[in-house]
């Protein structure tokens, strides 16, 4: 562990060595990045969306590049919770970082069941994905309907002793409503944003580029939207927020802290640079040092809004 403690933060009962997490679906199970990261400097690895039963994901092309972003329609391909616990968790729980399991289901009680199964040693927290735009039953309805979101969160909370992070969808009219619903239902933290829904078209074949027609937009292109929503959520709830969406460098991460994030997660940027999380960690340490801030917590929510602002 780096001796510099300035980046240490707590999310509920979870202690993060640094507030820089790897976002679900972009970092595999962590191991894939072993050649590029020092896990002790990573706040945690959020593993790929895990479901009760194994899932094959979507057919056809699954990723497309867009200006400063990308679309994905992986569709929650994963080997299922049991396989994960038996074959993957035993290996990765030895990594000197937190393992956060991102879970998806198609009904509140299924979420509960998943939470119970995953309430095992080695899992440090659950991230409830109520917002996967890429599968029909991937929870997007839970992510946009505050009542459904409430019951999903409640079901998960009831079935686990782990900290529960609820991951919000940006595809809503008012993020404050879903943020509040998750908090009211007992969520220990929020994470946002998941991907925006988008699509791309091949003008030669006139077919969608993605096999699943639509996909989730991520990457630098969405940063302004993510930052806005994190700030909205911060003004609405008291629980800690994990901010993400388009972070590619320490300066981007700093913006999320200022907007109200307690920690951040990096997704798409890992594809451009597999060591980017480490650079962000170093960059944040430098940022704090240069401004005489003792800890990253001092940055959270310090946006100085001029009086005339909203």
């Amino acid at each position: 562990m780096n001796k510099d403690n300035s980046l240490c933060v707590k999310i509920a009962d979870l202690t993060l060595n640094t507030p820089v997490l790897a976002a679900s679906g972009t970092f595999g199970y962590g191991e894939e990045f072993a050649d590029f990261v020092d896990f002790a400097k990573l706040g945690g690895v959020t593993v790929k969306g895990t479901t009760l039963k194994p899932r094959r994901g979507n057919k056809g092309v699954r990723v497309a590049e867009t200006p400063a972003g990308m679309l994905n329609s992986i569709g929650l391909q994963n080997p299922g919770a049991e396989y994960f616990i038996e074959n993957i968790l035993p290996r990765i729980k030895k990594l000197p970082t937190n393992i956060i399991v991102n879970i998806s289901a198609s009904a509140a009680d299924e979420y509960g069941e998943l939470a119970k199964i995953l309430d095992v040693d080695g899992v440090d927290a659950l991230e409830v994905n109520v917002s996967c735009p890429n599968v029909k039953d991937g929870g997007i309805v839970f992510g946009t309907d505050p009542k459904a979101l409430f019951s999903v969160t409640e079901a998960v909370k009831k079935n686990t002793k782990k900290p529960v992070i609820v991951k919000l969808s940006p595809n809503v009219t008012d993020i404050k409503i879903t943020a509040k619903a998750a908090e009211d239902a007992g969520a220990d933290a929020l994470s946002l944003i998941n991907t925006l829904i988008g699509m791309d078209i091949d003008i030669e074949t006139r077919q969608p580029i993605l096999g699943n027609v639509t996909g989730g937009l991520s990457g630098a292109a969405v940063l302004p939207v993510a930052l806005y929503m994190v700030h909205e959520a911060y003004k609405t709830v008291k629980i800690p927020i994990i901010g993400m969406g388009g972070i590619t460098k320490a300066e981007d991460a700093a913006k999320f802290f200022i907007a109200g994030a307690r920690a951040v997660a990096v997704g798409t940027a890992n594809f451009s640079d597999p060591g980017v999380t480490m650079k962000i960690v170093v960059g944040l340490q430098k940022y704090l040092r240069e401004r005489n801030l003792a800890s990253i917590g001092e940055l959270t929510g310090t946006l100085a809004v001029p009086k005339e602002g909203m």
């Binding site: 679906g25 972009t26 970092f27 595999g28 894939e32 990045f33 050649d35 590029f36 790929k48 094959r56 994901g57 092309v61 699954r62 990723v63 497309a64 590049e65 867009t66 400063a68 972003g69 990308m70 994905n72 992986i74 391909q77 990457g219 630098a220 798409t268 890992n270 594809f271 451009s272 640079d273 597999p274 060591g275």
Partner: protein
């Protein structure tokens, strides 16, 4: 196989044919670990494009610590690659993926188009290979002089008959298989060509390896962009489990 990412200095870039280039960069760590069949992912124009581009390793010079790739300018990313000149740096991630078997004693290599790029390095690594290559027209067959130093027999087809036999490479395959005796077929090229090659190999009781392509985001086995269904229903990742697979794994 430790992977690494480096700002690789461009040693040379030279045009081989219309829209086809060979790029040689200095990346000793990658050169040391690279096996034939593996690929690298290049960051385009210092991150101007979000996704890296996967490109097969076409040559390695251990002494100089360089690797070469051969690519076709096909879209925006490869277009930007053509601007690189010696002294520039290109962010390179690799080596990635699986490799062709080096256990074969007398393999027949079959390739088409840019599929020949990783096969070139393979040809260099094995003692006694033959190569069967197909292309559209003579001017695209700069490949012959690239392969000549490394292979015993070189069979060429072109669609228009301007070099070698007229027709598709795959059409010549059965005939070549009767002429010599091989212990393995190594294929890389258009999907239909590979699938037909695999079928012919099977009919001839020859083991066969193929190299698949899928759109990729991470290249590290993390994102599942490159999922491919195996014959038995399992799902594999082209970037990590492949790109090289035994043909019978892929097609029953």
């Amino acid at each position: 196989m430790p992977k690494s990412v480096t700002e690789a200095e461009v040693i040379s870039q030279r045009q081989l044919a219309q829209n086809v280039y060979m790029l040689t960069v200095c990346a000793p760590k990658i050169a040391y670990e690279a096996e034939p069949g593996m690929f690298v992912m290049l960051r385009i124009a210092d991150g101007a494009m979000l996704l890296r581009r996967p490109l097969g390793i076409a040559d390695v010079d251990l002494g100089k610590g360089t690797i070469s790739i051969i690519y076709r300018q096909i879209g925006g990313g490869t277009k930007k690659l053509t601007a690189l000149t010696s002294g520039d740096c290109v962010n390179t991630l690799g080596p990635l993926g699986s490799s062709f078997t080096l256990k074969a004693v007398r393999p027949l290599i079959i390739g088409g188009g840019l599929g020949l790029a990783p096969l070139l390095y393979y040809a260099k690594c094995v003692e006694q290979s033959d190569v069967l290559m197909g292309g559209r027209t003579a001017s695209e067959m700069f490949w012959t002089s690239l392969f000549k130093p490394y292979v015993k027999n070189l069979y060429v087809t072109t669609d228009d008959g301007t070099m070698g036999e007229q027709g598709f490479a795959i059409d010549m395959l059965p005939q070549i298989l009767t002429k010599n005796s091989y212990d393995c077929l190594i294929a890389c090229g258009p999907p239909t060509m590979m699938q037909l090659a695999a079928k012919i190999a099977k009919d001839n009781d020859l083991p066969c390896q193929v190299s698949l392509e899928r759109r990729m985001a991470c290249g590290l086995g993390a994102c599942l962009s490159c999922s491919v269904d195996m014959a038995d229903g399992r799902q594999k990742k082209v970037c990590q489990d492949g790109p090289v697979f035994w043909a019978q794994e892929v097609w029953a």
